[in-house]
């Protein structure tokens, strides 16, 4: 009737995490009185629940997530945007332009096919299709930079506690970095070298997302990269 692992052990699906009555948190399920894991990840025993912090996993869209996507099609009154979910996200005209509709309005002037946008999920419809909006600070069409993709489940690690990791990276490199919850990171810097540094750091964070004390190690790594450049 107790824990079968220690907090932060790596578990695989089917591992019995707990025998007995306990709340099942994320990435766990209950079967015949035991709690099992459903994904590879780090087990975490809370006060009255058991959960697994997933190391692999797709993007599960939630209202309020900021995402980065590509316009793939234009339909009557809406843009279809690929944000890496099962179904393409929709962006309706009222969520894209802040003015009343006029007949001479041309959709491609706002967003064309192939454009990259930073958008926010404002709603999920009954088929769980995300409805986006680009009205708001920091949202809208992206004009420069390039995108690096990482596993969406590792995005929280890239941001760090209260943004500590990403703020440190911004300060050290001087690049502009926008993070989409769907695992796409938009980078644009003044020089190619700066950008390469950020890409290296992001890949290192992705590989070491399951270890602790990461922010400090990344800071050292960044300093080392900087020295090498000099």
């Amino acid at each position: 009737m107790d824990a079968k692992f220690e907090t932060r052990d790596v578990v695989v699906p089917g591992d019995v995490l707990y025998e007995g009555r306990v709340r099942t948190g994320e990435n766990t399920y209950r079967n015949e009185g035991n709690v099992y894991a459903t994904r590879v990840g780090l087990v975490s025993y809370g006060k009255d629940d058991v959960s697994v912090i997933a190391l692999e996993g797709g993007f599960n869209p939630l209202v309020g997530d900021v995402v980065i996507g590509e316009v793939i099609d234009i339909e009557l009154g809406q843009w279809l945007i690929d944000i890496g979910t099962q179904t393409e996200a929709l962006l309706n005209i009222p969520d894209a332009v802040d003015q009343p509709y006029r007949t001479e309005f041309v959709m491609t002037r706002v967003l064309d096919i192939g454009d990259t946008v930073i958008a926010k999920i404002v709603d999920l419809d009954r088929k769980r299709t995300p409805i986006l909006s680009i009205l708001g600070p920091g949202l809208g069409r992206v004009s420069e930079g390039f995108i690096v993709r990482i596993t969406p489940s590792k995005i929280p690690r890239l941001i760090g506690k209260k943004g500590s990791m990403i703020n440190m990276i911004l300060k050290e490199t001087g690049c502009r970095v926008s993070i989409g919850q769907n695992g796409r990171v938009l980078i644009s810097g003044r020089t190619r070298e700066q950008e390469e540094m950020v890409v290296k750091v992001i890949h290192r964070i992705e590989n070491e997302a399951h270890t602790s004390g990461l922010t400090n190690r990344i800071q050292e790594y960044l300093r080392k990269l900087k020295e090498e450049r000099k």
Binding site: G14, Y36, T87, G138, G160
Partner: protein, 265 residues
């Protein structure tokens, strides 16, 4: 029947294994960067690649199910995987194994969590040496976990059979062809449930039971190798101390982004 060894009392298998010994197995996960999840398995001389894509939108759309995801498997043998060369077109056997793999894996995946979606499992046999369906299931299970698809348990598969009048574990190509029977079993070890049971050949009821329990023994050994393969990707070393839990840092995305915006201006 070919009886190897000079002494009649000294019985041994074609490759010198014990009756309950597996072939050497090596599994690697995350080998295909463009797939959502992938695995590579070497089981004896079998070499098999597996890639998992999804959950993604089902195409053609009419095949999607409104309440659950659909698991689709494609088993394919490369033309050079066997001697003589094999036609790359899907054969009856490929179709059967695709179906068998699907039903073996289906019960382990939480399909109801992704309605209208499809999860695609592609298995490519690069070199075949008997027991490819079991090796494919082993690789596919690892690849599914690597793709981050929620699963009830891992699925392990192993065959047992009758060769030269004796029950043996994990038949190789020669034993498979010359033997009297072959019983592939897929198994969920932690839930203790069998998801696939086939039999090819003739066995008495007693022998069938023994064969299944022999195969289950093999499954349990392979399960440990699968676990190792999944954990190897994250290094064996344990983190020293708890400093940051990723879950605590979930919210402040927008804050970070706004701060960037401020810096730009």
């Amino acid at each position: 029947m070919s009886r190897k060894g000079k002494k009649k009392t000294q019985w041994s298998r074609v490759d010198g294994r014990e009756y309950n010994e597996l072939r050497p197995i090596r599994i690697e996960s995350g080998v295909i960067p463009n797939a959502d999840g992938s695995a590579y398995i070497e089981m004896g001389r079998n070499k098999i690649m597996c890639g998992v894509f999804g959950p993604r939108e089902m195409h053609p759309k009419h095949q999607a199910k409104p309440n659950v995801a659909v698991l689709r498997c494609r088993y394919h043998m490369a033309p050079f995987s066997v001697d003589p060369r094999r036609s790359p077109a899907p054969s009856r056997r490929d179709q059967e194994i695709s179906m068998v793999m699907r039903s073996a894996l289906e019960s382990a995946v939480f399909l109801e969590r992704y309605p209208r979606a499809s999860i695609d499992v592609y298995v490519e046999v690069l070199e075949a040496d008997g027991g490819t369906r079991c090796a494919s299931i082993n690789a596919a299970a690892v690849a599914l976990v690597d793709a981050g698809i929620p699963m009830k348990d891992l699925v392990v598969a192993c065959a047992a059979g009758k060769y030269d009048g004796r029950l043996v574990l994990d038949l190789g190509d020669y034993e498979d062809k010359e033997g009297q029977a072959d019983v592939p079993v897929a198994f969920m070890p932690k839930l203790n449930k069998v998801t696939l049971l086939q039999m090819d050949g003739i066995l008495s009821p007693k022998e069938t039971e023994d064969c299944v329990s022999l195969a289950l023994e093999g499954c349990k050994q392979i399960y440990e190798i699968q676990r190792e393969a999944l954990k190897k990707k994250y290094g064996i070393e344990k983190p020293e101390a708890e400093q940051q839990l990723p879950e605590e840092a979930e919210k402040p995305t927008e804050e970070a982004e706004r701060e960037e915006e401020d810096e730009e201006r």
